[in-house]
Subunit: 336 residues, 2 copies
């Protein structure tokens, strides 16, 4: 969602365009179909995917990014907004397809306690990699080492010299960098990559709020060390969802992969939750989604009793330029 709060998105399909003022936020959610004339979806189906609005009932006009849920009681529905949803599929395909990991690889994950990073670290451990993560507080670092099984972790805010820190944790260099940060962190990592290393470019959180992007100086390492660096886009992996699902579900059921969620209850708490960068997850609300003009889906991801809509607005010249400029408001909306 953060990526869509910018005006400088590259041209792309409408789903990837920036948010419009006054329209409900659109994101990933879990929903239930309340009406449908689409042959693949029928009343009562549970789905997760993109284009589900932060609203009680939504009309969905494309099913391209919608996956059906075969719900079982031992898996919380909220997982389909996280480990079994977009963050999970992103972690899996970005790490395995771009990172091309193998046993013994040395893996560094930045922003490692994020919804994606925490999974990447666990995936890497499952196949026998050495994994170090970085995060922004002592508490997060402890969680990485204790709850998520990272071999080591450090607080990047305490490191004045990121290059030196990486050399301490990776004296023989890094095979795979799972990139969530960009800027100075990427520059330091480039100095520490191994020959034929891979940089799986999943995000650049340090750059999104900058008017001018931070510069990177050490790109020549890509040449000297024949490194591959590639940006990841999740939308083209939805058709491989079952591959990911079949891989991850047994590990979840066996408790070999853990996942933590921050849950804010109720649509009306969404603005605060989003501002605090809390992940949204399960609720019992009734958000209705209509797709291909005749399909109605009841969204389970947000709880609200009334057909109110959460809208996003900005104080700055009609655009959402910065998280600090966000104004989230509840609006009455009676028709589509």
């Amino acid at each position: 969602m953060r990526g869509r709060m910018r005006r400088d998105l590259p041209p792309g399909e409408p789903e990837q365009s920036s948010y419009s003022l006054g329209s409900p936020i659109v994101g990933y959610g879990v929903a239930r179909v309340v009406d449908s004339r689409h042959s693949d979806f029928k009343k009562g189906d549970l789905v997760w995917g993109r284009t589900i609005g932060w609203e009680e009932y939504s009309l969905i006009t494309t099913t391209e990014y919608l996956c059906k849920i075969n719900h079982t009681d031992d898996i919380p529905l909220s997982y389909y907004t996280g480990i079994l949803g977009m963050p999970g599929i992103t972690a899996y395909f970005c790490f395995f397809n771009i990172g091309s990991p193998k046993e013994g690889d040395r893996v560094y994950v930045s922003s490692a306690l994020g919804a994606i990073g925490q999974l990447v670290g666990q995936f890497a451990k499952l196949i026998g990699c050495y994994v170090v993560g970085s995060a922004g507080s002592k508490e997060k670092v402890e969680l990485l080492k204790t709850k998520f099984g990272f071999d080591d972790a450090f607080n990047y805010k305490e490191e004045h010299d990121l290059d030196a820190a990486l050399k301490r944790y990776f004296p023989e260099g890094i095979d795979i960098y799972f990139e969530n940060v960009g800027g100075k962190m990427l520059d330091a990592v480039l100095l520490n990559m191994r020959h034929h290393g891979r940089i799986a470019l999943c995000g650049m959180i340090s750059q999104y709020n900058l008017e001018q992007p931070e510069s990177v100086q050490n790109l020549i390492a890509l040449l000297y060390k024949q490194i591959r660096m590639e940006g990841f886009g999740v939308t083209e992996y939805y058709d491989q969802y079952s591959k990911f699902f079949d891989f991850v579900l047994p590990y979840i059921k066996e408790g070999k992969i853990v996942y933590v969620e921050d849950i804010a209850e109720g649509l009306e708490t969404g603005n605060i939750a989003l501002k605090e960068s809390i992940c949204f997850a399960a609720g019992n609300g009734t958000v209705r989604v209509h797709f291909w003009s005749d399909i109605w889906v009841e969204n389970q991801s947000l709880r609200s009793l009334f057909p109110r809509l959460l809208s996003l607005s900005s104080k700055k010249d009609g655009w959402i330029a910065d998280m600090g400029d966000l104004e989230l408001t509840m609006e009455e909306r009676t028709s589509y």
Copy 2:
């Protein structure tokens, strides 16, 4: 060779280390075996490859980067230092393996009149790409368009705004950037890449002489547009030489691929030629190479009548830090 005239090369195999003062320059050459006890090579064999010194007779201790030549009269031996040698194999595998071209792709080649660039442009045309190259003079630009069949070309020195120039030549964006330059050029290209574009990173000529590498600001494009960028190293492709050779030879014989060479005659002209960045190619000299302790190869790439050795030295604190600091001298050498 230019890459080895630096002190800050990453640790690697001995062949990739920086040049040592007082030792003959080692590079790519064409040679003839004058003595051998290695089962794969016999007296009289013609070979091309790395580790052949700029000297009359050389001792070669590894055959890893040596390829045999099946010489025919219609192909000049000098071609094995160019189109049929390292530049050729680099152009081919870097473009096809990293660039992953397909018919209709829009290809941009920087430093396009270089030994590699001129081939990449022609390979791209052969499979139906639209190809634009850049070079540093009006004459070079004309050659690209007339002799090498590029769809278009421009003189980057005349462009104050590289981004605007690229938008002029690629209004719909670039699918493949064959990168020989780095720095500002790369930054401008990043703004003009298409979704799922590929950047085949072959060289960064603008960066080699800088004390501090130039910074790049637009890397986030890799993320937004899911671009793959990868550094190329030729050494791991020698075992696929026949694949390249079988592809390119018919085109050369049919005149569908052209190649130009700058030839300096004689080992004793090498220092001037190298300083002027002139490609070295065929001569009739007798440079002898000995590998695996018992194999002697007569090098055909340089002409010299005496067992003199060309050595490289630097004015700056024992290292070759900069082309401007190069001092090439001829030295007597009587034993190995």
